[in-house]
Symmetry: C2
Subunit: 407 residues, 2 copies
């Protein structure tokens, strides 16, 4: 049988979900079975879960990314560097800033965005740990504050204050890195460490919601020992040129700070709303096969997909682990559709656990139902990170970018 027209599969985004879909699909299909196009803003993939390290300056930002072309089979996947503006679902076209692309099957894997919940000034005055560009800007911003301090005639101590908004996963991991980085920065820039403050502000009544109290206590104690201050149950009301305003109950306090990093909110991609999908904060409640309701040809994976964990009746969190598993499932289902044979598989997350880093040599977590902390957890965290590299990029990517400072 000669097929006159190969089905066009277009994948938007080369993060954990999109790139996993692409590499699994190129393995599953022969060169002549489908036209696969992968569209991404950059010609590189980055490890979103490592950005806190690049942001703190404990890891060079180039170690956080690798060329997509290194893991893509160019005979099977056509890579376009482009920025998605919107999707025309009726005409089955993706509108890029640079042009248009038609699809038969679409995978939306555009990733999340920072969500500021309308808090005044956050967009303008706070940084967010979102991508390689913002991560290295945070690093450079902090270094510039330290470099500037010694050149000032009147010392502005607030320059050396760093506020981290949010004590969730990203916030805590970033604080862990800062705990290690601050003493280095003080040596590097001849700054007295007593002048430096790192303050975490969290509106919720606890740090790391979802983790058991015992592990949370371990994390807070260890971070406090590194000099991090916690303001829990305290909401950021406003960010401005000088720092932030926070409120705990009725009490409002001003914290002057040279650097404010907002690490509290993630939402789905705004393209989801642009394209007219029904969504909650940019996340589409997908069907069991990860498709947008009413669109059998549109899969949504990663941070833009919303799925309910029936056990606790809450959505699964937007994690790399789940995004990669969605990518695998999606690739399988696409192969079924392209070939017109077989059955679509429903997606079931396989939660292996969760490890939160507290710096280079410390972490807490739950793995296969077991609580771990300290160097053991830190080891596991690096294994988890290497595993993500391996799953998408294979052994050669692990060798190039992996974490081998294991003990």
């Amino acid at each position: 049988m000669i097929r006159l027209r190969k089905p066009k599969v277009v994948i938007l985004g080369a993060g954990y979900g999109g790139l996993m879909t692409a590499v699994r699909l190129q393995k599953a299909l022969g060169v002549n079975e489908a036209d696969i196009t992968l569209i991404n803003k950059n010609d590189y993939h980055y490890e979103t879960t490592w950005l806190h390290e690049a942001s703190a300056g404990t890891m060079h930002h180039d170690r956080v990314r690798y060329s997509i072309s290194d893991v893509i089979d160019s005979s099977k996947v056509h890579l376009i560097k482009g920025t998605v503006s919107t999707i025309n679902r009726e005409e089955k076209r993706v509108i890029l800033e640079e042009g248009e692309v038609e699809y038969d099957y679409l995978v939306v894997a555009l990733g999340g965005e920072s969500e500021t919940f309308g808090i005044k000034g956050l967009k303008e005055y706070a940084f967010s740990i979102t991508n390689v560009n913002t991560a290295r800007q945070i690093k450079e911003h902090i270094e510039y504050q330290f470099a500037t301090y010694n050149t000032e005639e009147e010392k502005n101590d607030a320059r050396l204050t760093i506020v981290v908004g949010g004590a969730g996963f990203t916030g805590i991991e970033f604080l862990g890195e800062l705990g290690n980085r601050i003493p280095e920065l003080c040596r590097e820039y001849d700054v007295d460490q007593n002048k430096v403050r790192v303050i975490c502000v969290e509106a919720a009544p606890t740090v790391l919601p979802g983790f058991e109290p015992e592990l949370v206590e371990y994390a807070v104690n260890h971070l406090e020992r590194k000099g991090i201050e916690f303001k829990i149950g305290t909401a950021i009301k406003e960010a401005n040129q000088e720092g932030i305003l926070v409120a705990k109950g009725e009490e409002v306090e001003e914290i002057k700070a040279g650097t404010v990093v907002w690490a509290a909110g993630v939402r789905g991609n705004s393209v989801i709303e642009q394209a007219g999908f029904e969504s909650m904060r940019g996340r589409v409640k997908v069907d069991p096969q990860l498709r947008a309701p009413g669109h059998e040809d549109v899969f949504i994976v990663g941070d833009c997909a919303l799925m309910i964990n029936e056990e606790i009746n809450r959505p699964y969190p937007p994690t790399a682990q789940i995004a990669m598993q969605m990518g695998e499932n999606c690739a399988k289902n696409l192969a079924v559709l392209v070939r017109g044979q077989g059955e679509l598989e429903s997606f079931t997350p396989d939660l292996k656990g969760s490890v939160c880093s507290l710096g280079e040599d410390d972490a807490i977590g739950v793995v296969f139902g077991k609580k771990i902390w300290g160097s053991k957890a830190s080891f596991m965290k690096k294994m988890v990170d290497n595993r993500a590299l391996f799953m998408i990029g294979g052994a050669s990517t692990v060798l190039k970018k992996g974490k081998f400072n294991l003990l």
Copy 2:
């Protein structure tokens, strides 16, 4: 003979002139012959002539400095980390921010400062390559501009424009480093090199006054080939938040720039004026033994000393070479005075030549009367730099800090 009171020698500043005085004096005198005190703002000495490299980011700022205690014999020289406010010449006391010190003999080796000639806004909006603190701030500032560019929604290309005011020695050497650094920065921060502009603005009718036209032409050609633009015979009229205003004759032009570095003016230290010495822009016209007129007990060496080169009837330039030679002469004369025997020696500079770097692998210069350029001149430049380390710090300092990337 038992002397009841040892003469107190106080040296202000541990730059080329002051530190050379200290290390030579500790060699010339025994432990019991004098109380020698060296006062410096930092506990380190830095190579002023290498600061353009730290500023451009082509050399880490720690390679530009070394601990004073590494080269000082603590049994003979007492090191005080302090900042000089003024000198009470009548009572023979140095007033520090931290206290007071008495002297019998004083060496003022406080070094130069940036001179902005009253040009509006330069103090507030331009950086200067003055010390380790300002150098690393320039480096961090430039990196922050590059890091920020990719995070902007509306690209501000002026962020990537660097203006260097002055095409003298420091300006040209800094431009040479920038020529090498810009391509690195573009790779590092994913910036299109076509967006970057480096502009040198010089009010004088030529680049590198004092160098022969043939060498000047070589320098300008080679820097232009690296993408540097020159605006010669053009004066900076004002610096502001946005950049600078320049004028060539009647014509005024605005240049928007994210970074402005003023590298055109050096003057003596303002403490000279504070202390009431007669001076021209902080430089004291010293006697042949390098003493302040009317003060047989006060030596002035380095950038604060003004000496006329009779051959051309112009002052000797404030260079490291001359500062070090002054330090040697001063130490000899101090030993004579402390011992009360021998004759004071007049100072005669021994000008071995002058090499101006054009980046890592290129330079121009005149050495022992011979014109050199290219890799040969670059080699000589590194030898000159290593020689300065050796003269003050000895072989171990050369091994630690020397430049061995010679070919």
